[in-house]
Symmetry: C2
Subunit: 199 residues, 2 copies
């Protein structure tokens, strides 16, 4: 079965529509998707940015918020920007890695994005994360302990490094089995088509 | 008739596919398009960049060239990157302004983009520009004199300032009659739909 890696950072605005769109599109295309949360912070830091480029370049930032609003309206997705932006995504990413090694990872990722960009919630808040875990009938204490364990911390660092090695410089990004990189929510369809052709 | 302004810089890579796609798409949508060349240089300069962000951020640059190559293959457009990149687009933009006030402007713009990104040609070279004028049966000396006249120089400066006032920070950009801004070749279809809806 064709496969596609979906690389995202929970702080990334355009990763929200991508996360909401990818499962049904991939099912239709017959592509198996792997959710791969990572951290953009170190990658941005390496090119001298200490915050989101949407904050560093105000005209670009203003455009992005308006564009995302239009996009969410087109997709019938709720939209409300979080305060502050960007949110610290470390905790959510570690919890997601726990979930992705069990059965509730993808649904949790969608719930995080919806809480953050659909409801303007704070995803760096442990109460938010605990609340988002409720539907999955998992013990939040166990999950949070696992999320803070050394293996999960190391895993997230390794994933971030792997993203960089794939040439990833932003999110969302999609990487096919043969290493072809696609960047941006608007490249999702093209990436899926490439993954299919590549088989 | 619905209208859409197409803002571009001849040095901008993704403006190439946009320039090649816009006329037939706009005709189908029933939208009147106005070609508006401007200079990204002063806008980039204002945010501290002295060259293209694709040069400043190598991972992004590598991705862009590969992405543009794929895109041109999908669209059946010739593709060959110019040396050096970015090309100085001042002369081509001034000549285009002359052409756009006559009848040959849009065809000239497409010819410039094809020479630059389809054949890797130097568009800052007066011989290239003169060659591109040949099919239009205009006197190249008259055109070049007009292109270097004070009114055309001032016009290009004014257009660049107008672009900035519309919130434009990159190219290609599309602006509807009600001031809605869309950025990027992949927003062309959405911009045309907005222009139609907006009527």
């Amino acid at each position: 079965m064709p496969a596609l890696d979906f690389w995202f950072d929970f702080a990334s605005t355009y990763s929200y529509p991508a996360a909401m769109r990818i499962a049904p599109l991939a099912a239709t295309a017959g592509v198996k998707v792997r959710f791969r949360p990572f951290l953009l912070g170190p990658i941005f830091g390496a090119q001298g940015w200490d915050t989101s480029p949407f904050n560093l370049y105000p005209a670009k930032g203003r455009y992005m918020w308006r564009d995302l609003e239009r996009l969410c309206a087109d997709l019938d997705l709720p939209f409300r920007p979080p305060e502050p932006f960007p949110q610290r995504s470390l905790l959510a990413a570690r919890v997601a890695l726990v979930g992705l090694s069990e059965s509730w990872g993808e649904a949790f990722c969608r719930a995080v994005f919806r809480a953050e960009f659909g409801e303007g919630g704070r995803i760096d808040d442990i109460t938010t994360i605990t609340g988002l875990l409720a539907p999955f009938k998992v013990d939040p204490d166990r999950v949070l302990t696992a999320a803070r364990s050394e293996p999960i911390k190391a895993r997230l660092r390794d994933e971030t490094q792997a993203a960089q090695q794939h040439g990833i410089f932003g999110a969302p990004s999609f990487v096919t089995t043969d290493g072809e990189l696609f960047w941006g929510n608007d490249r999702l369809e093209r990436a899926l088509a490439w993954a299919v052709k590549d088989q």
